[in-house]
């Protein structure tokens, strides 16, 4: 249960693009073809290893429906990573990416790592958005890009882990202020040298220093 870092993620994107399925595939390693509409947000968690360090991912899967937009906005601040998901078989979900990105950039902290994900790559025959288009969009907006399939699990692990790697690198570079929990990053209890109940207060500078070296 102990971890070196804890990262908070959010998953955003239009309704029906497979956000909940991506989370379920990542946390439970299963696919549920018929999934209920997410109401508000749902929580999931998993431990991963990067650079032989245990990293805990806490993921908030948000509702894509417009009605929940104002609620889900509350989660932007305080997330270290975001998975922005569209459906490669539905062009309009790709077209809405700019709106999502603007929303995310406006409400989140500037260092939040955003990973662009084209989901449902298993449905090649119904593809409406070319992979190159996704790549181009990601390049233009400075995002990491990946096509995934929550059904076949293709690239699902990679999507979550690569996002974590990016965050981890930013920590190493000292870009993230890990003292501020509003950034969505926490240092694990055993890594904090002082009182475990006050992880952010004084002890974190030491840990950060360790990370830099």
């Amino acid at each position: 249960m102990s971890y070196a870092y804890l990262f908070k993620y959010i998953i955003i994107g239009d309704t029906g693009v497979g956000k909940s399925c991506l989370l379920l595939q990542f946390t439970d390693k299963r696919f549920q073809p018929v999934h209920d509409l997410t109401i508000g947000v749902e929580f999931g968690a998993r431990m991963i290893t990067i650079d032989s360090k245990q990293i805990k991912l806490q993921i908030w899967d948000t509702a894509g429906q417009e009605a929940f937009r104002s609620i889900t906005r509350s989660y932007y601040r305080g997330a270290a990573g975001a998975l922005l998901v569209y459906d490669i078989t539905r062009r309009e979900t790709f077209n809405h990416l700019t709106t999502w990105l603007d929303d995310a950039r406006q409400h989140s902290n500037s260092n939040m790592v955003i990973m662009l994900i084209g989901n449902k790559s298993d449905l090649e025959s119904r593809r409406e958005v070319k992979k190159e288009e996704g790549e181009a969009f990601a390049r233009e907006h400075g995002l990491v890009f990946m096509e995934t399939s929550a059904k076949t699990a293709a690239n699902v692990e990679e999507a979550f882990i690569n996002t974590a790697k990016e965050i981890y690198e930013k920590i190493q570079e000292g870009v993230f202020d890990i003292n501020n929990e509003a950034n969505g990053i926490k240092i694990g209890p055993q890594h904090s040298p002082t009182n475990p109940s006050l992880p952010g207060a004084t002890g974190s500078s030491g840990s950060q220093g360790g990370g830099c070296c």
Binding site: M1, G40, K56, Q58, S70, S74, R77, G78, P189
Partner: protein
Amino acid sequence: MDYFRSGLKSVLGAQPPDQQITGAETVERLVSRVSTSTLLEDRRDACRALKALSKKYRVEVGAHSMDVLKQVLELDRSDCEIIGYCLDTLCNITSKEPFDDENESPLALNVNIGEQFTEMFIKNTENVTLVLSFLEEYDFRVRWPAVKLLTSLLANKPKEIQDIILVSPLGVSKLMDLLSESREVIRNDALLLLINLTKSNANIQKIVAFENAFDRLFEVITEEGLTEGGIVVEDCLILMLNLLKNNTSNINFFKEGSYIQKIAPMLILPENIEEVGWSPQKVSNMHCVLQLVRTLVSPNNPVQIITACQKGLRNASLLEALCNILMASGVPADILTETINTVGEIIRGNLTNQEYFANVMAPSNPPRPAIVVLLMSMVNEKQPFQLRCAVLYCFECFVYKNEIGQGQIIQTLLPSSLGTSDITTGQLLCGGLFSNDSLSNWFAAVAISHCLIDNPAQKEQLLRVMIATNLGAQAVGLLHQSMMHLQQGNRLQSKIGILMLLAMWLAQCQQAVQVFLNIPGAMAFLTAQTSASECDNNEELLQGICALIMGLCVVFNDNSVQNYSKENLSQLIEKRVGLETYCKKLSEISRHEVYAKAAKQPQILAKHSSELLLEFEFCKFFKTFEGVIINALGVQRDLQNGISELSLSEHENALLLQYKELIRDQDKKLHDLQKALTNSQREKEMLKNELDELRQTNSQLNDQNTLLKAQLATNTTSNHIDNNFSGTQIVPPSAPLLQNNENHEELNNLKKELIDKTEELERLRKDQENLLELLTDQDCKLNVFKNRLREFGEVIEDEDSDVGSNSENEV
């Protein structure tokens, strides 16, 4: 009034001594000053005065000043003092509670003024957002009243405020930041605000949790000294409870965030607890901690969440800590009760935890298993009622889905283990079952019944239990003894307890049914109860369960008891009780209000001991078997294989034989007919084949015929013969071809002959005609000559009459 006026002199200036100025007028004057004054100081003074008046003249201030106050909040936000006055004033006029020195207003009698003003204020949702924005102002004079105003608004219109805050950008975040506030009064008020804000709103609960609420709250709790701390600790725990109750997503987050470990220190009792004692606040805090743990493992949660949390609680040594509290001395009864409930839910349906619990020993001399010590309290009349209920619940949780545990408990009832000197669970349960305390009877009966759930092996084992009632008396079986107790006793609670035990024992256990049916008077008792027509307070429950047991005796009957075979018993129900009455009695159980209460949750919840009649698992059991029994009674007749011939009466047997004969006959007939049908079909097939063959030959002949006709056409000139011939196709195809040809020729010859003859005949006819003509001519000539002769005077004798007559005529 004088006091008030003098206080206002500084603001309003001196008044003429004879004025009769009313509060309303003062307020109006102040309001106009706030809205018209150009100097900030003047506005500020007016606002301060409004604030001062807002308690006593609440209606007036609220009615007149709302708009100007909003205006000030927008325009003067840089001045913390005036904002503070405004917020305070708004807070006062929207307060839910009336003030002590508030002027009685005619309006105030029926309507809640605070609520009215709240409604007016929040009509424009921007106003709430505005107040939220003041939370960011660090100045104490602004931040604190802003928190208080929000609390007041929330108290009046919780749903509306929740919705507004939920959609305000960073609304919840701003409130959450207040938990890190160094000024305790603000932090504590913010805590209360959050408690109200998170009530029954899952979305806000999740956002609050996302905003690191658990970290913040555990920080505060630690700072305040854990459970030794004051009411702030309690508030923190209440907020956590709000966030977790019925919120699976947050429970999952709590578990994944390793917060369970952070509860553990709060459950460790200090060494000197007996000397220090339990302060009321400590009791309250402890209560909340226990509630918190129970929320995680509540039977209402999804199973995977419960299992994961149970595991987490064990791994964090929380189960151990709780068991220590269980066995510690000096723990207040209500804490002990809640601890027992909590332990119960942590072990419920979790084998590892149940095993752990089975091995917990009480520090008594000699050491006894904790479960024995607990059961001793359950069957002890002197123990508090709630505590006894908790023990039963904990026991139920211990045997829930725990086949091994169930077996172990039943084992202690069996004769072999009775020899040991120490008290066993079995002894306690048996003692409780037949004690003079009806509540103990009920508790023990329910406890034993839970050991039998889904466990047919233990139902049979339990049949081996023998009870020696009096010294020297013959030992009787537990089932028998229960029945005797039932027939002798007159206390409803005790009877219902035992009947529930019997019902759950007999179901799916033919052996137990057999033993039961052999108990003299058992059936008579049930029949009498079921067919009884009068029922006063809760008797209908008793009758209903008796009906249920009768039904179970039908369903799980192996027909080994002569007089009470399946058929006999259903006859008994039909004849003595009547199916309709029977079903009605049965349904009385689920229609009773205690059924609805008990079926709601596994925990035994009752204010008073007399309320305890039915119990959760029994309700579940009843739901399963009610339908089964009604089906068995209703459609039994149709299920021939359900009845052996032995169970039928003589008349019916004869009838059965008769029908069997009839069926046999019909069967034979059917067989014969089928045979005949097969033969006919075979014949038909043969004929069909023959016909096909003939058709084939026929068509062959036809072909040949055509061929021949063609040949014939070239050879002969006459076609109509062919036609004639084709008309005679039905001639048996087996006729020799040669003969056919000969016939042809012969026919042709004959025809030719016929033509010749006809021609001859024609010729002769023509000759004859010619001759006749000639004759006529001759005749005419002759007549002419005759006439000439007459002219010449020659007498000519007529040769024939004809001529004679002619001559006569001429004469």
